[in-house]
Symmetry: C2
Subunit: 310 residues, 2 copies
């Protein structure tokens, strides 16, 4: 299978202005910084990106700005999920037109209790509408938000129908047995499986996965990359334990507001804490507690930023 991605991918946080609009300038800078930190790819417009709190037009405008600023399209895997075939096809055509390395595809998520056949027809109609041999689609399995799964069998049907197009999957089920089942079933054919949290990075690599696409990449690319680069060494388990500790510390708080608060603090840019409703920013008390928890485990994005600058 043709593959553009492996390693540590970051579902990039989206900065908003204090008035609540996407802030393209800060978005470009942040994407550039993440690549400098060692991110292998940028899964912009994911769940962590508050992509579904933006209109299709806002998402396309941000992608246009990244490309214009010289971020390599081959490193981008924009989320192109939508509840309608029409909007999903439009977003994918836009991404493929820019030469993006791939797209991350949610199932339609409004109606619940849909059948595998209905979800298959949705994806298949979208792929047929886009009709591009350049399209590389990564399925986005995140049942805690969508309630509509890309189950192991459905994934197999999609691979079989579109072997040059449906080339990978992000598993944000949080259920290792599901990731393992996917790896056992499809990794040997070159299907790229990314756990949706670095907590499962080492287990994933050992099972045939190719990396991870993880929210905490926004604040810990170097730590996560250490696991990826050293997973066959005797240090691997300790390195994994280190990044798992950081992750668990952060996810004791609402994840997206917490990550934005960390970025605001260590990048010295308070506006970064802004989220779009229905999300809420951390309270002052939560912010304080989070930063104290991180200090306690020796985490400091600030030090790493200074080291990198030296």
């Amino acid at each position: 299978m043709p593959q553009a991605f492996a390693g540590v991918l970051v579902p990039v946080l989206t900065p908003f202005t204090p008035a609540g609009d996407p802030d393209a300038g800060r978005f470009v800078s942040f994407c550039r910084w993440l690549l400098d930190e060692g991110a292998d790819g940028l899964a912009i417009f994911g769940t962590t990106s508050e992509a579904n709190s933006m209109s299709a037009g806002e998402r396309m405008a941000l992608l246009d700005r990244l490309i214009a600023a010289g971020i390599p399209a081959s490193r981008l895997m924009p989320g192109t999920g939508a509840c309608s075939i029409t909007e999903a096809a439009m977003l994918i055509k836009h991404a493929v037109g820019h030469g993006c390395g791939g797209v991350l595809m949610l199932p339609p998520f409004y109606y619940k209790g849909m059948t595998d056949q209905g979800v298959f027809d949705f994806v298949s109609t979208v792929i047929d509408k886009v009709a591009s041999p350049a399209l590389r689609m990564y399925l986005y399995h995140i049942p805690p938000q969508t309630m509509i799964p890309f189950g192991v069998e459905l994934v197999g049907r999609l691979i079989k129908a579109y072997p040059q197009t449906v080339v990978g999957l992000k598993d944000s089920s949080g259920d290792w047995s599901n990731t393992k089942a996917l790896c056992e079933a499809y990794a040997k054919d070159g299907f790229a499986i990314f756990p949706g949290s670095e907590v499962f990075l080492l287990d994933g690599l050992r099972a045939g996965g190719v990396g991870c696409i993880t929210a905490s990449g926004n604040v810990n690319v170097p730590g996560i990359r250490k696991v990826y680069e050293n997973w066959k060494t005797p240090q691997a388990d300790q390195l994994q334990a280190d990044i798992t500790l950081v992750r668990k510390t952060i996810q004791a708080y609402p994840m997206v507001p917490a990550l934005k608060r960390i970025v605001a603090h260590f990048h010295g840019d308070p506006d970064w804490a802004t989220v779009r409703p229905p999300m809420e920013r951390l309270s002052d008390a939560q912010s304080k507690a989070l930063l104290a928890d991180l200090a306690k485990i020796g985490y400091s994005l600030g030090e790493r930023r200074r080291e990198a600058a030296e």
Copy 2:
């Protein structure tokens, strides 16, 4: 509170062409027929309308066509729900610009586990962005699809903040105790409460509700109107039992495909059975069984159509 709607409102099915595009011509005819049947209002672009399987552009184009065809805007309550503030505000501005009697507002439905404060901020930001004294918003409580509730307390907060704007609610929870609690809390102030199924129409009217907004209105406006018109008479309970039987017969099947199959059959237009993925049309066996079940209880849209034509 300023009110534009009461009685029997229909969340209108959306016809698609065999190629899968919204069919504006058949949509206009069907809306006109529903008004002729006695519908008090048309809640186009609801859950039954597969609205969330259409892009914002497709929905606005259909509304434009209805208005151009002379369907009175005052009778229209388009669904304007979206996951983003941006898209919701755009859809509402478009509807208000056409002079629609009101809009039906879903909560943002991608992210799960959001707080009441987050949902309040979402709705409040949208209302402030639209900034029109002409806006009449009906909240759309449908937790089986959204998982994000407009709970009784949150509804009260929204009414209090926007008494001229947040003027009603459709309750599709399917939970009578919730509808009852809403009626007890807010009906006396003129807040318009519509159960989302005619099964609760009579109970709702007795508790202070003002009608219903119901999927099966697509195929049974006259029956449902009989309950609405006679709810204070001794016949009310029998009339309610009649429409409940029709409803329960239909909802033994997947609701939207079943309604489309009924319309296809009785309007003599097989293309009406077309749904958009992720929905699937009924199988031939299901279609046959559904029509047989309806015949068994003496339901015939066809006879009514002929009577109306005579």
